[in-house]
């Protein structure tokens, strides 16, 4: 059976890359998810729209490291899903509390993941957003929620996947 396909939002991808441990050296939720990924529990499917954002953040915050970071990702560029068209983005508009999220919503639909992974509860976990994901057969999970999916945490009712 193929591993589950997970589409990460830029925020969780950054958290997995830069903050797998907290200041005290303890594993964070993002760090636990990274471990699961490295262990082959699921595949990450990444969209060009997410990489664009990552690239801009690197360019502005870490310009000295950008070219090395880009070269690390270069062998994987043919696995990135394409940019969404304006029409595909417009289709996501009624479901987004913030229109700037629509390219990422549309990008996720193109990637056809099982799960969209985002800790942005105000944008990705609203009732409208959940209706959008449901229409495409996609589930939205937070970092904590994804750990529940793999039996690493227990789901608590009514908190939208937030850690208790």
């Amino acid at each position: 059976m193929s591993p589950m396909r997970v589409f990460p939002d830029t925020g969780v991808l950054l958290a997995m890359i830069v903050f797998p441990y907290d200041r005290a050296g303890a594993l964070t939720l993002a760090g636990e998810v990274l471990q699961l990924y490295e262990g082959g529990a699921f595949d990450l499917v990444i969209g060009q729209a997410v990489v664009d954002e990552l690239d801009e953040v690197l360019d502005e915050r870490f310009p000295r490291h950008r070219s090395r970071a880009v070269s690390l990702l270069m062998p994987f560029t043919d696995r990135l899903t394409r940019w969404p068209t304006p029409l595909e983005i417009a289709a996501a508009l009624p479901f987004c509390s913030d229109p700037s999220d629509t390219p990422i919503f549309a990008s996720a639909v193109i990637a056809q993941p099982d799960i969209v992974l985002s800790n942005d509860f105000r944008a990705f976990h609203t009732l409208q957003a959940k209706a959008f994901w449901k229409a495409y057969g996609i589930t939205v999970e937070s970092l904590y929620g994804l750990l529940c999916v793999f039996g690493r945490r227990e789901r608590r009712g009514g908190n939208g996947g937030r850690p208790p």
Partner: protein, 106 residues
């Protein structure tokens, strides 16, 4: 010099057998050579798709810079959010809003 090879026997449906024979003939290959090439291509493709993204390597590169800049996770994510707003405004907003307006029922 003797080649180190292993023998395997596989059973295939007649139609696939016919297709393999035809493809081998078209490419002037033996049926054995065609099958070996097909299996090699499959293994290469499968192992490539199982390769993990180099997130640890990216972390090893960026984490010291984040620490040196004393950036918190909240600050970095806030910055990513600002980048998203800017990309929306610069690349998509006008076109997408115009399309959405066209699609609205009159």
């Amino acid at each position: 010099m003797s080649m180190d090879v292993k023998r395997i026997t596989i059973r295939v449906p007649p139609v696939l057998h016919q297709q393999l024979c035809q493809t081998a003939a078209d490419q002037s290959l033996s049926l054995n050579m065609l099958t070996v090439r097909a299996l090699e291509a499959y293994i290469e493709e499968t192992s490539a798709s199982q390769e993990r993204l180099p997130l640890r390597e990216l972390g090893a590169l960026l984490s010291p810079a984040v620490e040196a800049a004393e950036l918190t996770e909240e600050e970095l994510l806030h910055h990513a959010r600002q980048v998203r707003h800017r990309i929306w405004q610069e690349r998509y907003e006008k076109t997408v809003q115009a399309l959405a307006a066209q699609q609205e029922p009159r």
